[in-house]
């Protein structure tokens, strides 16, 4: 656009800041990934490349502990993710397609409340609640707490997707004598699928990642991967923890990329031509 004149958009040095930003964000992660392949008992000196710490997570002394923790983490993330996605899908249709009513913004606030309350406050409140009603802390209390904070994470991409779909699709279905349920399952849901899927994936990762709330409501004996790692790290960073961290890092990146790609593909088959 600018031929001979200077480009007013360009600020010299901003590019270096961007590179610095990415450098700061990624260096610690890359360093830990590299050191997880370190064939040495000491985490400070480099002793050559090896997979021994990965072997250690699966077959070493702490393998049983990690396996139970991984199973708890994954099963809770799956169930919390699915439940939150169902609730969020229903809520998104109610908010965006339902009749207007007083207090709609209040309802939006309530759905997003878990994002506004500081995590540690949610953790304390949930612990107090479970203890006051005499609910035994353990697997179930973790699951319930996770469903709550997964709802807004699932809601946002689902609602964004639904807002981009024209009403005429489901109206056409109704005009062709479909029941409301059929109009949802056969017409609206397939159109919403990318949003629903990426909402589920985000909820799944958020549940898998949570430490603070889990740490408060888990009770004795039940561990998820983050609480197990925290307990271990408190006694010093060990090389097997770095291998475990690297694996979890890869899982998170895999699911986020998947969610990103699904959204991208969904955009291409988007409906609202503006």
């Amino acid at each position: 656009m600018a031929k001979n004149t200077t480009d007013v958009r360009r600020y010299p040095g901003f590019f270096s800041f961007t590179i610095l930003c990415l450098f700061l964000l990624y260096t610690p992660l890359i360093i830990v990934t590299i050191y997880s392949f370190n064939d040495s008992k000491s985490i400070t000196t480099w002793g050559g490349f090896s997979f021994r710490w990965y072997q250690d997570i699966f077959y070493g002394l702490e393998a049983a502990k990690f396996k139970t923790a991984a199973w708890n983490s994954i099963s809770i993330a799956l169930m919390a993710g699915i439940t939150a996605t169902v609730i969020a899908t229903s809520a998104a249709i109610g908010m965006i397609r339902g009749e207007p009513f007083k207090g709609k913004s209040l309802s939006f606030g309530l759905i997003n409340l878990p994002l506004m309350v500081p995590e540690i406050v949610s953790a304390v409140a949930t612990l107090i609640f479970f203890s006051a009603i005499g609910f035994t802390r353990g697997y179930m209390s973790i699951l319930l707490a996770h469903i709550v904070f997964c709802i807004p994470f699932a809601y946002l991409p689902i609602a964004a997707r639904l807002e981009g779909i024209e009403k005429s699709y489901e109206e056409a279905a109704i005009d062709l004598y479909a029941t409301r349920w059929k109009a949802f399952t056969k017409v609206l849901m397939p159109l919403m699928a990318p949003g629903i899927l990426s909402g589920f994936l985000l909820a799944f990762i958020i549940s898998l990642d949570d430490f603070i709330i889990t740490n408060f409501v888990k009770g004795a004996g039940v561990e998820t991967l983050p609480t197990a790692i925290f307990g271990s790290v408190k006694q010093g960073i060990k090389p097997n923890i770095m291998a475990l961290s690297t694996l979890m890092l890869l899982v998170s990146i895999f699911f986020v990329s998947l969610s990103y790609l699904i959204n991208k593909l969904g955009e291409r088959t988007g409906d609202k031509q503006s």
């Binding site: 200077t6 007013v8 958009r9 600020y11 901003f14 590019f15 961007t18 610095l20 930003c21 990415l22 964000l25 610690p28 992660l29 360093i31 830990v32 050191y35 985490i43 400070t44 169902v86 609730i87 969020a88 229903s90 809520a91 249709i93 109610g94 908010m95 397609r97 009513f101 309802s107 309530l110 878990p114 309350v117 500081p118 995590e119 406050v121 949610s122 304390v124 409140a125 949930t126 107090i128 707490a145 469903i147 009403k167 489901e170 109206e171 109704i174 004598y177 898998l208 990642d209 430490f211 603070i212 983050p226 790692i229 790290v233 960073i237 961290s245 890092l249 998170s252 986020v256 990103y260």
Partner: protein, 312 residues
């Protein structure tokens, strides 16, 4: 608008949408789950903050102001001395605000140019840059904090690198300092600063900058006088998104800091761990933290409405 001319199965109101009338039913599961498992617990926490502590954790159902009193006043070991101001907890709160504010400032210094740079790329490369910025956010916060600790330890790769290149002779102690905590908070929430500023700059009309340019303003005057005032709502949103979680952060101060860098998050956590805890006091500290966050959010909401009114 898109109402069919004459629907065959003539509904009562041809303008009504398919899901009209059941909206509240569809919303109710989310209201019930969040209401019962978050809103109600917050109210119970408020009640607990006015109860008497039991020595092995938990509470006795006797109303008292002891928790808030303990927060503000020192009445001696047996509680019979004339009250003096208790600075311990006020200091912890003031330190938390200070640390969170510094972390927010660092995030702004790095985040603003980054967001601006990304927003002025082509649409195609923009989404790639944004994706690169968001990935670390989705990586487990615990793992990121542990990675940071590993990197900056006395015998960690950073010190080894600096010593091998001869920049320093002996390792710099970073872990357990205030700076380590600020660095950890900065690292935890940096993406939160970039995203809202990016969104604001993307909507910015560059004709304004060109007009300033034509009127002989230089680059930096244009930035200061035109761009920053216009994208201010995005900058404020970014600052709040970093400041609020930093204020109540637990992992960064706990793993990267020491006893001298104690923050609100650790203070609260301590009240609920083991037998030494004091539940009403922990609930009171949580209530104070929550009130502070709500004040910041209300300020933000007012700011945004004013910005919208100004845009009209």
């Amino acid at each position: 608008m898109s109402a069919p001319i004459a629907p065959l199965n003539a509904k009562k109101n041809p303008n009504a949408g398919v899901f009209d009338g059941i909206g509240l039913w569809l919303l109710s599961p989310s209201w019930i789950v969040i209401g019962v498992f978050l809103l109600l617990p917050v109210f119970m926490m408020l009640i607990f903050s006015f109860l008497t502590k039991e020595f092995r954790g938990g509470v006795i159902w006797e109303p008292t102001l002891a928790a808030y009193d303990q927060f503000l006043f020192d009445r001696g070991l047996f509680g019979d001395e004339p009250p003096t101001i208790e600075w311990t907890y006020i200091t912890i709160f003031a330190r938390s605000i200070w640390q969170a504010a510094l972390a927010t400032l660092f995030c702004l210094i790095i985040g603003f140019p980054t967001a601006y740079y990304i927003a002025t790329r082509s649409a195609r490369s923009r989404s790639v840059w944004l994706f690169l910025i968001t990935i670390p956010y989705w990586v487990n916060l615990l793992i990121r904090t542990v990675s940071m600790k590993f990197l900056i330890r006395d015998t960690g790769p950073l010190n080894q690198f600096l010593m091998s290149t001869g920049v320093i002779d002996s390792p710099i102690h970073i872990v357990n300092t205030n700076f380590a905590v600020q660095l950890g908070l900065f690292y935890s929430y940096l993406p939160f600063m970039v995203l809202p500023i990016y969104a604001a700059v993307e909507r910015y009309n560059f004709a304004l900058s060109e007009a300033a340019w034509d009127l002989y303003a230089d680059r930096w005057t244009t930035l200061r006088k035109i761009l920053i005032p216009v994208v201010k709502p995005g900058i404020i949103a970014g600052c709040i998104l970093v400041f609020v979680p930093s204020l109540g952060a637990f992992l960064a101060p706990d793993l990267l800091g020491g006893a001298k860098t104690f923050m609100i998050g650790s203070l609260i956590e301590e009240q609920f761990k083991g037998n030494a805890g004091n539940w009403p006091f922990g609930a009171a500290a949580s209530m104070i933290l929550l009130s502070m966050v709500l004040i910041v959010l209300m300020f933000y909401a007012r700011q945004q409405t004013r910005a919208q009114a100004g845009a009209r």
